[in-house]
Symmetry: C2
Subunit: 268 residues, 2 copies
DNA sequence: CCTTGACCCTCCCCTTAGGGGAGGCGGTTT
DNA sequence: AAACCGCCTCCCCTAAGGGGAGGGTCAAGG
């Protein structure tokens, strides 16, 4: 029989850990001295402790280890933990790629201006219209007209909150004139279709998102940053790119205050 | 300006998280309504939130993100986090191998009897003697004699606590007769050497450890288990194997109560 | 004008696997 | 007798929020 200090050295653990295991009932001493309260351990506990340590080194939680000791079937526990470890590995691989990217970009001037995040766009109802416009400045002439047409046909229709208004670039490449776009605005429900405007329910989507602050002349840089990021992070482009307009001429006078989100659908 | 609920949807986060960021000062609302206490956010906060999310997705802690926002040089932070991610990746690779082993061994009968752990053996002072014995039963005739000889020459010498008494198998293979062994006992300090017994300081060592309960006839199974485990876990054997005697004929009458630890030094 | 349901606030407790330390008792050594 | 070491219990702490209670606020419907 050993006092806790000696036993902790035999088992290469700490006294605090043994106190904790005793408290939660995972590993209790063979005997407790009635008068002093001193815990007394035997080599039988050493075997149990060894078993605990083996399972801990395999990544099982204390809760799981207690289940194993209680005789619960280990297979589902192990498989669940295995799946979680694989998820952790993927997460850390991704983090490694992101940090490598940040370190590589650190010296460049746009490090402080652009960041990329991955986010989910949930399924939504939108009204949308495809068109060809002569240049991007024309967007904001045609967009309000679409809004008015929809609202006239559907007086009770409300935009989604938060607002989500975006265009999809239907050209596979960058163009400065005769741009094919699809304008979209998220709304609360389906409505009647007028003037080439259709309603649809979008699929949920995973995108990499880059925020662009300032006028639209700078948008190509945001695209370039996003493309660079996603190539270095091992993602592939899944669909046409999008721009979501958050702040612009309609609510901010100062062009530097405009805010646009570039979204690029990704896979894997 | 947006209420917290709408802002949380725009930023794809939760109200609780925004409360938390406000409390710790990481991201504070643009304005707080004096009379109601309602938080009001603007799109400027949306950009900051985006930045927080990008750094979080790269695996930085909230503390680190606060440092980044405070203008601390990011490079050391990123490098430190990178190193930690690599450690995590290794740890999880190891856990994956262990769980795969447990799942593969699960059906076999010794799953419940043997577990392997990796542990560090610290540097120690031992006295040791090499010898050849006819068979393993002879160990326990010669060992007490060595102990007596040492104690006679060094009356004040004390064994280490906890006791650590082991033999090293100097044969590279399993043998049943004419076994070359080195007997070792950890002590508190160096002493005078008699009768072929030498004192030395051991190097710290990493071993895989398997506990064997019962008589010594079963030891080969413990070795087999350990060898199997370490092959499947990707470790290589670094040195001769060891047996550490914890309980045996000297303190337990019932052979089933004997306890021996098989230790195999490993690299990587 | 009143009510209802949605939204917001603060405050408190909870999560893992123990770590750190205070205050006090037991046993041994000088 | 004093010092020191080992042991005990009790209490607070971790990271990043989550869950819920209790209570005030907002906008719309009857």
């Amino acid at each position: 029989m050993f006092y806790i200090g000696e036993f902790s050295k035999m088992g290469r653990t700490t006294v605090k850990t043994l106190h904790y295991y005793d408290r939660i009932g995972l590993l209790q001493p063979q005997e407790v001295d009635e008068s002093t309260g001193y815990r007394l351990y035997s080599t039988r506990q050493l075997v149990d402790l060894h078993r605990i340590q083996a399972l801990k080194q395999a990544g099982l939680s204390i809760d799981d280890i207690q289940s194993v000791f209680a005789g619960v079937d280990v297979k589902p526990i192990l498989e669940q933990r295995q799946a979680e470890i694989v998820r952790e590995l993927h997460k850390h691989e991704e983090q490694r790629a992101r940090i490598a990217f940040l370190l590589s970009e650190e010296e460049k001037e746009f490090f402080m201006d652009y960041q990329a995040t991955v986010k989910e766009i949930p399924s939504q109802i939108v009204y949308s219209k495809r068109m060809t416009v002569p240049n991007y400045k024309a967007y904001f002439d045609v967009i309000p007209a679409i809004g008015r047409a929809v609202m006239q046909a559907n007086p009770d229709l409300k935009c989604a909150t938060p607002e989500y208004c975006y265009i999809v670039n239907l050209d596979g490449e960058y163009k400065e004139s005769d741009i094919n776009i699809e304008f979209n605005e998220a709304v609360e429900e389906f409505g009647t279709e007028v003037d080439g405007i259709t309603f649809k329910k979008t699929e949920p989507l995973e995108v990499v998102s880059v925020m662009h602050k300032g006028g639209y002349d700078g948008l190509p840089q945001a695209y370039a940053f996003a493309m660079d990021w996603l190539e270095k992070s091992g993602y592939a482009i899944a669909d046409f790119t999008r721009e979501s307009y958050i702040d612009g001429i309609w609510n901010k006078d100062d062009e530097d205050e405009w805010l646009t989100e570039v979204q690029i659908p990704i896979v894997q």
